[in-house]
């Protein structure tokens, strides 16, 4: 290939591998936050309180329609203005976790809505409490149809972690930028980062699809 230096590629590989670890850590931690927070956002939108439903609905819409990059800057820079100093990692996790919590809340909502009305009625006929209805009947059936959305956003959060580089989280792109400006070579680091992303996200997407089918079968849902 044009001007590709294998020697240089080998030399920077260890640094990129370490950065891959950071990227995966950021994606994993952000996703964990999003999974839990998203559930609260989804359930809040089913609450009997109209005001709460409205406020949460609008908040989710707002966060979903504005750029994550801007939200990362917002969390990182606005804190200090009011005397709250957050580390890049902390700010990044808050921003990306909140952003994806909004997406996941929509996935959960869709999953819950996909459960037929008759299931709610059967649960009432068995005299279940609200908690029992959700835990025993609705959520187990909502999960299979929510799984593909949840999987897509796991891969999505992984691909959005490069934005954390702008506040100094040492993930893949941040490291590639550093290597590039140290050696004045961009071909190898950026290309390798691209390949690393592909090497992780393609198998991950396949694995998720496999798992989805397995869960559905295990639950007796065809």
């Amino acid at each position: 290939m044009f001007d590709w230096k294998w020697e240089f590629a080998w030399e920077i590989l260890p640094r990129l591998v370490v950065a891959t670890g950071n990227t995966l850590l950021a994606a994993g931690a952000g996703y964990a936050i999003a999974l839990v927070l998203g559930l609260f956002l989804a359930i809040a939108q089913r609450s009997p309180s109209r005001a709460l439903t409205f406020v949460v609905r609008e908040l989710v819409e707002f966060i979903r329609s504005t750029p994550l990059l801007l939200q990362i800057f917002f969390v990182f820079y606005v804190g200090p203005q009011f005397g709250i100093r957050l580390s890049p990692w902390m700010s990044g996790m808050i921003a990306i976790g909140l952003h994806y919590a909004c997406y996941l809340s929509e996935v959960y909502r869709g999953g819950i809505d996909s459960v037929p009305k008759g299931q709610w009625e059967a649960a009432i006929a068995l005299n279940m409490t609200t908690l029992q209805k959700y835990c025993r009947v609705i959520i187990p059936q909502a999960i299979p149809s929510a799984l593909s959305g949840m999987g897509n956003y796991l891969v999505g959060i992984f691909k959005d972690t490069p934005m954390l580089s702008v506040i100094g989280v040492a993930e893949l792109i941040h490291t590639a930028n550093a290597i590039g400006s140290e050696h004045y070579r961009f071909l190898e680091p950026y290309t390798m980062v691209g390949i690393l992303f592909l090497a992780i996200s393609l198998p991950a997407a396949g694995l998720i699809r496999l798992m989805e089918g397995r869960v559905r079968r295990k639950m007796g849902l065809k």
Partner: protein, 221 residues
């Protein structure tokens, strides 16, 4: 300084940035829709080589980050003798990225048209191209417009990344203002609201209108 004083003082730069964001959005949309149509159709081609090309394109652009693609196009392409300015690199990266996602929507939309429509078009002896253009695509378009609405919001949000290669869009101007004034809440707050207005009161209503218009044209509403 409250947000109103802030906007009163910095509105020319915010407006210029918003103009650039809108320009990037339009050009990326144009490119993205074209790429989506071409790649979506190619993925349905009976020719294996054509199909493989589309699959490769789609998987590469969906499997890596927009930011990685942007940097690659801006920093690495020149090494191959393809030198493009930052303005072009910006909308090209965003458009090609969104095009890969759109290709899947195009493919899904076409597959959602009932088989009977293909057969009916064949029965009146239309050529394959006629069938696609006159019968299948119009129906596919109506079916795939709703998910395109979401994709257009993603595209708008994606344009914020062009600030990282110094295209002077809204994100870039905001960061600059923040850097010189340290009025972070005001600067980033104003930008968030502007993006929200663009998304919620311009892009989404337009897509809704388009959906209704197309549905009417197809006699479905």
């Amino acid at each position: 300084m409250n947000i109103f004083d802030f906007v009163a003082q910095y509105w020319p730069r915010l407006l210029a940035g918003t103009g650039m964001t809108v320009a990037q959005f339009f050009l990326a949309t144009l490119l993205g829709v074209t790429v989506a149509l071409v790649m979506g159709l190619m993925k349905l081609s009976p020719n294996r080589l054509v199909r493989a090309t589309a699959v490769t394109y789609i998987e590469i652009f969906r499997g890596t980050s927009l930011l990685v693609q942007l940097y690659w196009i801006f920093f690495v392409l020149p090494l191959f003798g393809v030198s493009i300015d930052k303005f072009t690199a910006g909308y090209v990266a965003v458009g090609m990225n969104i095009g890969a996602y759109g290709a899947e929507l195009v493919r899904g939309g076409i597959l959602s048209v009932p088989k009977g429509q293909w057969e009916a078009a064949l029965a009146i002896n239309m050529s394959p191209a006629q069938r696609m253009r006159r019968v299948i695509l119009p129906q596919a378009l109506v079916n795939m417009l709703p998910p395109w609405g979401n994709l257009m919001i993603e595209l708008l949000k994606g344009t914020a990344l062009v600030s990282l290669i110094s295209v002077a869009d809204l994100m870039f101007e905001t960061k600059q203002i923040n850097g010189s004034t340290f009025l972070s809440a005001q600067a980033f707050g104003a930008a968030l609201v502007t993006y929200y207005i663009l998304a919620r009161f311009m892009v989404t209503p337009f897509m809704r209108w388009l959906e209704a218009y197309m549905a009417r044209k197809m006699g479905r509403a």
